[in-house]
């Protein structure tokens, strides 16, 4: 048989070596990502699957920054349960399937003890399903009503973030008495949108609001012009915009174009910090909305002041947004529970975490027993004009704060818990 060795310059060999190099990179990156064996027994590993790529990259990065600060502070204070903490950040690409794969790998391969994360409702529910099965604690930092429900709940499930019912309710209780009873909803047609609308409706009942229309728009809508003629014709006192992310900024901007802001008041359950930073005051002017955290709280809240200072120091002077606060609290509380329980065992830590009452960055919070929902305050904010802003970060004015109150949340029985 003729020689089987191919000349080294042959295209086939070159292509083969390209493929080999790719394979090698794959294996190498795998080992770079997981911790060395000697450290694995030593650290408390917190997995953080977040959408680093995609439309919520800015929010995800904020979560990461908050989480990193929490880990840093924990380690600087000597750690807990005989170990230091370590953060394992993963990109879930805003896709539930991807998120589940990441979570399973974090648990099975990287031996993560706890999972914190996500920005999307669908993703958090899928991740929760995976962590539930494997008896791993999951502290979600994403808005959703569904995660409180009995169907999705487990003793390892915790919800650090506000849910739409709380945020919408708070904004409703602030706005409706001041603004009038004739209401039109402009709602993103997906679960989160519906949950926001329901929260408004629920609180609005007490004020006798009259719902003139609930206009549903597809998620990811870029042109709202089709909705405004009808909205204007209905002549509402209040237009409730129940959506999130870029949908929200575009809706506000176009509402301004069509003169809707002159004719009616706009309210939203959750105002996006990143949206306001990119699109500016013009787009957000005149809109009242809710948020879980704004750095301006530091005037009245010592823990906010401490958090802001530490965050600024670690992030080049930038102030933390609401998602940064969630990343911080989400990880900090879990690590605190591990330290208090002196263990990384899921059952022991879950029991301890459930009992944690702390003032971590926004005033005191605690987890409700039946659904592990963090009971916390809601801020009502409006956009601040650049002329009145002290720094580039000074984007909102806090007009009201609704104190934490379990009575305002959906009841345990309503959620299906015994």
């Amino acid at each position: 048989m003729a020689s089987t060795s191919l000349p080294s310059s042959s295209p086939l060999l070159r292509r083969r070596s390209v493929l080999q190099a790719a394979g090698g990179a794959l294996v190498a990156s795998g080992s770079a990502v997981s911790t060395p064996l000697w450290a694995q027994a030593e650290t408390i590993r917190v997995g953080l699957p977040i959408p680093l790529t995609g439309p919520f990259a800015a929010e995800a990065r904020a979560v990461q920054q908050g989480a990193e600060l929490a880990v840093k502070e924990f380690n600087a204070a000597g750690g807990g349960a005989g170990r230091k903490a370590e953060l394992l950040v993963r990109d879930d690409k805003l896709n539930p399937q991807e998120a589940v794969t990441r979570t399973v790998e974090l648990i099975e391969k990287d031996r993560a003890h706890f999972i914190v994360g996500s920005v999307s409702a669908a993703v958090q529910l899928s991740v929760n399903n995976a962590t539930k099965q494997r008896k791993v604690i999951y502290n979600s930092v994403s808005q959703s009503d569904s995660i409180n429900e009995a169907k999705d709940f487990s003793k390892y499930t915790f919800h650090e973030c506000l849910n739409p019912h709380m945020t919408a309710g708070a904004v409703a209780r602030y706005a409706f008495p001041k603004m009038g009873k004739r209401v039109v909803f402009l709602t993103a047609d997906y679960a989160y949108g519906h949950e926001m609308a329901r929260g408004f409706l629920n609180a609005g009942k007490a004020f006798g609001i009259e719902v003139l229309a609930d206009i549903r728009h597809p998620l990811g809508q870029t042109d709202f012009s089709s909705y405004f003629p009808r909205i204007l014709a209905l002549k509402p006192d209040v237009l409730v915009v129940c959506n999130f992310g870029r949908d929200q900024s575009i809706a506000f901007r176009q509402a301004g174009d069509f003169g809707v802001k002159q004719k009616t008041k706009l309210i939203a359950p959750l105002l996006m910090h990143s949206g306001r930073m990119v699109d500016g005051h013009d787009v957000y002017a005149g809109v009242i909305g809710g948020t879980g955290y704004y750095w301006g709280m530091e005037q009245d809240t010592p823990s906010a002041r401490a958090f802001n200072a530490a965050f600024r120091a670690a992030n080049g002077g930038a102030a933390p947004t609401d998602y940064a606060g969630l990343g911080y609290a989400g990880v900090r509380n879990v690590l605190a529970a591990a330290k208090l329980a002196n263990s990384v065992d899921s059952d022991r830590v879950a029991e301890t975490l459930q009992g944690i009452k702390a003032d971590v960055y926004k005033g005191s919070t605690y987890y409700r027993a039946c659904d592990h929902q963090s009971v916390q305050s809601v801020l009502i904010v409006e956009s601040k004009a650049p002329a009145q802003a002290t720094t580039k970060d000074d984007i909102f004015r806090i007009v009201a704060t609704e104190a934490p109150d379990e009575a305002r949340m959906r009841s345990c029985t309503e959620l299906g818990h015994a």
Binding site: A2, Q97, V104, L125, S126, A130
Partner: protein, 317 residues
């Protein structure tokens, strides 16, 4: 004549065995087992798609409908009705085939890019229906609770939460599926498919019922994709609405092209390369899309037959 060329005919005859052997060894060679399962199942999805695209020559943009329907069918039965998993998988698969029949019947008369667009439109209708049937599918929150934590056979228990165990469980199905696929491709039916791909007019002139054959291949493709979907539902324990989206259809098309359309093992190579590359890159950079994009461009310009197709062509020379 070099060694590889000499082996080719034997390899083709035993392609099923070789494929299964490679797939069986695969997870032992790479550290990410959860990813390996995704690759395995996406490869199966691609193999199903390849039947329509690579072997029959029709570019479909709606295959996510079969994959997603299979996933939801199986998922709903397991999560909501606690139906035993063999039944659920079978039903999921059958539903995939059924949706393929419905879409295929409407689309089969169109040509070229129009076929792609009709399949896209009809698949979007399926997406829309699933998105709004919230009580059934969970809507955009997804369907949770498709839990199959273990296999119980008398006193013997296999923990399926462990990725490696789950991989081999799934491989069982995939192995049977590709064996069936190989038999189909080797049959007279398979020959007619390739004839249609090469020259539809001539095939028709030769007396073959082209329309019926195309529809049948579309339905079979739907069955395989439905199976891949059903297994995915069990693998991830959740079913998401994006499994029905055109992005998923686009991805399976890319993966099949990447691997080499019309080749037997190509879809698995394509799935493996794409998913592994994505995974490896995501760990080191947020700019993985840039690199994947460059890779696509490079592959198309220099490896036009896809990775596996090019390798095979080289060996044949």
């Amino acid at each position: 004549m070099n060694l590889l060329s000499a082996l080719t005919p034997a390899a083709t005859r035993h392609r099923v065995l070789l494929s299964i052997a490679v797939l069986a060894l695969f997870p032992l060679l790479m550290p990410f087992h959860a990813l390996a399962i995704n690759i395995l199942l996406f490869g199966l999805f691609g193999a199903g798609y390849n039947l329509t695209f690579g072997y029959t020559g029709k570019l479909s943009f709606g295959h996510a409908a079969f994959y997603g329907t299979g996933a939801y069918g199986c998922g709903i039965l397991i999560a909501t009705h606690q139906v035993p998993w063999p039944v659920a998988i079978a039903v999921g698969m059958a539903l995939g085939g059924l949706v393929a029949l419905l879409i295929g019947a409407l689309a089969i008369r169109t040509r070229g890019i129009y076929f792609a667009m009709v399949t896209l439109a009809l698949a979007q209708c399926v997406y829309f229906a699933a998105f709004h049937a919230t009580s059934l599918t969970g809507g955009d929150n997804g369907l949770r609770g498709v839990n199959l934590p273990a296999l119980q056979l008398g006193s013997w228990r296999l923990d399926l939460l462990q990725p490696l165990n789950r991989y081999y469980f799934m491989l069982g199905f995939v192995a049977v599926a590709i064996w069936v696929l190989s038999r189909i491709l080797n049959s007279p039916f398979g020959a007619v498919l390739e004839a249609i791909r090469e020259n539809e007019q001539r095939a028709r002139a030769s007396g073959f019922d082209v329309e019926r054959t195309k529809l049948l291949s579309f339905v079979i493709s739907g069955l395989f994709c439905g199976l891949a979907g059903a297994l995915s539902a069990i693998n991830l324990a959740t079913v998401g609405i994006d499994m029905l989206s055109y992005h998923t259809s686009g991805q399976v098309m890319m993966v099949t092209l990447l691997g080499g359309m019309g080749t037997f093992f190509g879809p698995f190579i394509g799935a493996g390369t794409f998913l592994a590359m994505e995974h490896a890159l995501t760990a080191v950079t947020e700019r993985w899309q840039l690199i994947v994009g460059l890779m696509f461009i490079g592959l198309v310009l220099f490896f036009p037959k896809g990775i596996w197709g090019s390798l095979l062509a080289r060996i044949d020379r």
